[in-house]
């Protein structure tokens, strides 16, 4: 408990404190929050200047907005790819089901960085996909896929796909087959059954999976840094540059605090949804 207090809670207090100070060329590179004035009085010099700066510079606002956009689009794609997989696994019979589940989890255990790196070899101008398409004669000119937002979407969908599939699977596997039979007995086509019975019942799984993809995607740094172009703006990357290149610790802290709020809000919403569901059961 003490460990968590010291190394998890206190850091946020420090973070908040530094976000209120001014950048200085000194060690540490931020101003003190209070100091003793010439007459011996304690003076508090905290300011919201950094936050005002975030609002006034369109770079930051745009970065937050485009992070949210990229995370949202990737979440939708992950859902489209992950749902059929989860559904298929949930409907498989036992030995095959375990094997398929293991196959979903296995990439999650292999290095995140290396999985993103693998896509660099795929998407490059002289990469595997372009070579394949050129040889098949589908395209004449290599497609530009690296360093685009498209590559970032692929990277996020790819690395977070297990997070989407596992909650969906856990939800779909509990689905009562009798309901589906009843629907088809009453004359519903498979497609109608899916949209009127399966999909609404799997909504909790969809929400949980989407949150697990959306939240980490917002703060993503590695994927846009490796696959994205120079104009792929994501807030994790801005924070990183602000910290390591500009060395402006107070602004980086303010960026982090605003991002924290962005992340905490959906998490709390998810928690509320879950509590409501548990109460209903």
């Amino acid at each position: 408990m003490l460990w968590l207090l010291v190394f998890f809670l206190v850091p946020f207090i420090v973070l908040g404190r530094i976000s209120l100070s001014e950048a200085m060329i000194a060690r540490p590179p931020y101003s003190p929050l209070w100091e003793y004035g010439p007459d011996g009085n304690l003076e508090i010099i905290a300011s919201l200047e950094n936050y005002r700066f975030l609002l006034s510079d369109s770079l930051y606002v745009n970065a937050y907005l485009s992070s949210i956009r990229i995370a949202l689009v990737s979440t939708v794609f992950a859902l489209l790819v992950g749902y059929p997989m989860a559904y298929y696994i949930a409907r498989s019979a036992e030995p095959r089901r375990s094997v398929l589940l293991l196959l979903v989890i296995l990439p999650f255990w292999t290095s995140f960085l290396l999985r993103v790196y693998a896509w660099m070899g795929f998407l490059r101008r002289d990469g595997v996909i372009n070579n394949l398409l050129l040889n098949l004669g589908v395209i004449e000119e290599p497609l530009v896929m690296m360093q685009t937002d498209f590559a970032v979407y692929i990277g996020i969908v790819y690395t977070y796909l297990p997070f989407m599939i596992l909650p969906l699977y856990a939800n779909l596997v509990k689905l009562d087959g009798a309901l589906l039979e009843a629907a088809s007995d009453l004359g519903a086509s498979p497609l109608v059954t899916f949209f009127t019975v399966t999909l609404p019942l799997s909504l909790p799984g969809i929400i949980a999976g989407s949150m697990l993809v959306f939240i980490p995607a917002i703060g993503e740094y590695v994927i846009p840094a490796l696959l994205g172009g120079p104009d792929t703006l994501m807030i994790g990357r801005v924070l990183w540059d602000e910290f390591f290149s500009s060395r402006d610790w107070p602004v980086a802290s303010a960026v982090a605090i605003v991002m924290l709020v962005l992340v905490v809000a959906p998490t709390m919403w998810l928690q509320a949804v879950q509590n409501k569901r548990e109460a209903a059961e």
């Binding site: 968590l4 540490p28 293991l102 290396l114 002289d126 990469g127 939240i215």
Partner: protein, 268 residues
Amino acid sequence: MKRGWTLPILALAGFVFLYAPIVSLVVFSFNESQLVTVWGGFSTKWYGELFRDPQILNAGWISLQIATASATFATVLGTLAAFVLTRFGAFSGKLLLTGMVTAPLVMPEVITGLSLLLLFVAMELTFGWPAGRGLTTVIIAHTTFCMAFVAVIAQSRLRDMDESLEEAARDLGAGPVRVFFDITLPVIAPALVSGWLLAFTLSLDDLVIASFVSGPGASTLPMVIFSKVRLGVSPDVNALATIIIAIVAFAVVVAGLLLRRSAAQNPQ
């Protein structure tokens, strides 16, 4: 949907999507050509190159040390947190502890990394410890974010276990410490092993947090790989990736077999 072909085809496409990049990575690690994406014949020369690169070997050794230490600390602390949360009933601060245990699971890594670094700097200025940054700070940071994962795994196992065993031991006169070590710990041991393995891989894999909190001379393997691949694809990274993937796949299969065997021995 039941007999249709749509679903299996979509699912199959999904699995191809999951595995194609990894497979191509492994295939091209045996490529003779300097160009990563043009096949120039079979060769294992990149593996040899890898084992002559002191930077990579050194970073790999550092990463292993960090991962072993933080996985061990995270397992001990995570188990304690899980035990407190499942066995102590309601207590003041439980909500806070639950929040702190689950928050690192969803916290963006850039925030965790930045805030921990700022804490270390502030601590150094106030108490003089940790002096500078290096292995210690990375181990502390990794322990903190890994213990959340261990705690979640241990918690679900503790919830599932039959509490009458503990009650029986207590009725027979065992103290709480004895009950924990003689009954609870052996029962939840498989969960702790998988928790330790998960923490170990998470620590080995982490780039962002380590970049923030490590000091000069403590570059982990992901940090070295990242700085290499940022400049473009390089064939020796393919070889390194293949080795890591092989080790992980082997470990996962062994862990899976162990878990299945222990599940078969005491069906619950």
